[in-house]
Amino acid sequence: MKHNPFYDPSLSGRHRSARLFKWYTRASILMTLAFLAFFLFDMGRTAYPALWQTYVKVDVTYTEKSARLTQKAIDKKYRKIVSRAWLREIPKQLQHNPELMGTTVKQWVLADDQVDQYMKGHHNNLKQKQIRIIDELKQSGDIELDWNDVFFSKGDSKIPENAGVLSAVVGTVLTLLVTMFFAFPLGVMTAVYLEEFAKDNILTRFIEVNINNLAAIPSILFGLLGLAVFINLFGLPRSSPLVGGLTLALMTLPIIIVSSRAALRSVPDSIRQAGYGLGLTRVQIVQGHVLPIAMPGVLTGSIIGMAQAVGETAPLIIIGMIAFIPDAPGSVTEAATVLPAQIFTWAGMPERAYVEKTAAGIVVILSILLSLNAAAIYLRKKYEIKW
């Protein structure tokens, strides 16, 4: 080595520092990926128990008395084990099936959340006596974990075992419908104007700067706008999907505009020139040719904007969409809650049983986002035109 005229004694050090630097960049990306993996694993692990729910098989006595004092329907021994929410439904059940009156039926019944937590091996505050009863039931096979359809078929509840995501999902769908009803036409029209019609003047440039800024304003400030303008000025109903949807529409607008403009720009000029050559007006060209060709791109952008609106929480909290909503809303002016707001409310509940519900709600929202994004990618791949 010593005889090599190009030998540079600092070279090995330089190579070492080069390796170190590469190692650092690789480590930083691996750390990020590891965080993502751990995060998804942690959510899945926390959410999994929420898919299951404990049911017990007990004698239920349907009498006049138990219709009034629903606790009396169950043998005293098992009263603490059965869900209060289930007992509350007894009068309704009797109304639907009057022939039950005066009978005693051995049936599977929703269990209390503490029992449920015990069955899942989580922390609970059951007394020794109750644990003994549960163990007895376990031996006779009269208590078991079963698929939790309550979670997907019921709305919010203050009783953990009776709480579900249905009302929040319906609220999210209604809110998104309002959002798209306003944001999609407005966004596409703005994009068409800016890309196909506008001359490069002060107004156009001002609009462009504005759209850029709008995209970077913190979402919570849109909530302040919704509160001050839609609710206080226009007097629209608080907590309603109408106000929530309008607020989210303003936030989604820049995303739709930017992606629609990109889609319009990718339509080659020859299409427009051909139209002019045939004597079409500018509006006719855009309506009949440019916009239809750009549509897949426009839709892809809109779906991505929608995915962002699904997860938005802060502005909706400001306009009051965190109310306690046990039943699914029927119209856009009724009080409603949305999935991320439901997650927020459950995360603040003191009962341990809500932790798994929160995580399960998160898994639901992440799957919605995943399918929306998958739809966007599918659309893009299927209708992508190479010019």
Partner: protein, 302 residues
């Protein structure tokens, strides 16, 4: 023929109207915040708001000194950037300089999943997993840490803005002309020396722009801090204590049952005005930086 011309005019009018709505939105936000904020400053002193250290809403002689709130925001944002800038820029360098084309096409969308996760989910993760982990870790060294420490929020928020920084930085690094890399390699510099001394300095305006965008996102972030940070305004340098931020106070004062014109509610708009001004300035500055980069290398694709 005149039908077509009329039709044409109507459509043009509709299109212009639609585009002007974006301006109305910005003006709407600005004014709805500004008017309420002015109302607030008529009730309470502006000077005390920006320099006072006591924030005690909810009673007759309530005082609104927002300094501890700004300090909390600053602390959590600083922690977030300490996590996000090294990780984000490192990831961007790996993707643009070391990874194969295929690797980059896989890595970039995966990183962007992090940006797509709703912030309420990060908040839950910070409160349920990260904060207790930090408390347990500190227990080993017998240090006291709060369950709603600034550190927990800051770290999770940092992870959230990694893709913001890495995505734009990656685009910028790739836009640096390869002639520069080749010249440096031809002069005998190692690959990493080329990156550190040639590519990164060239891309610096773009990287700064990305970091500023991340900063503005961290300042405006709400759900993580609402769920995992404290409510108590706390002027302290210790990241293991609980702190509150501008966004937390806005949410807290608007969710309660106060009258709309009480100073408690109006204080949210004063804080909102600060937030609006700050993020707008950061955003403008970030745009200026990226324009500088584009002008230097005559790039139009960013």
């Amino acid at each position: 023929m005149s039908m077509v011309v009329n039709n044409e005019k109507v459509i043009r009018f509709l299109l212009v109207t639609a585009s002007v709505i974006s301006i109305f939105t910005t003006i709407g936000i600005l004014f709805s915040i500004l008017f309420q904020a002015i109302e607030f400053f008529q009730l309470k002193s502006f000077w005390y708001f920006i320099s006072g250290t006591e924030w005690s809403p909810g009673h007759e002689n309530s005082r609104f000194g927002a300094l501890p709130i700004f300090a909390g925001t600053f602390m959590i944002t600083a922690i977030a950037l300490l996590v996000a800038i090294p990780a984000g820029v490192g990831s961007a360098i790996y993707m643009s300089e070391y990874a194969s084309r295929r690797g980059r096409n896989i890595l970039k969308p995966i990183l962007e999943i992090l940006a797509g996760i709703p912030t309420v989910v990060y908040g839950f993760f910070a409160a349920l997993t990260v904060a207790p982990a930090i408390v347990n870790l500190c227990d080993i060294f017998s240090i006291n840490a709060a369950y709603n420490s600034a550190l927990a929020c800051g770290v999770v928020m940092g992870v959230m803005i990694i893709p913001v920084i890495s995505s734009l930085s990656d685009d910028v690094l790739r836009a640096v002309p390869s002639s520069q890399r080749n010249a440096s390699l031809a002069l005998g510099m190692t690959h990493s020396e080329t990156i550190r001394h040639i590519v990164v300095p060239s891309a610096m305006p773009g990287i700064i722009s990305a970091a500023l965008l991340g900063l503005s996102k961290a300042i405006g972030e709400t759900m993580i801090v609402v769920m995992a940070a404290g409510l108590r305004p706390n002027l302290s340098w210790n990241p293991l204590e609980d702190m509150t931020t501008v966004t937390v106070r806005i949410v807290d004062s608007l969710v309660g049952d106060h009258a709309f014109d009480s100073p408690d509610t109006l204080s949210a708009f004063a804080l909102g005005l600060v937030l609006f001004t700050l993020t707008l300035l950061l955003n403008m500055f970030s745009l200026v930086q990226i324009r500088k980069f584009k002008a230097r290398y005559k790039i139009n694709t960013l």
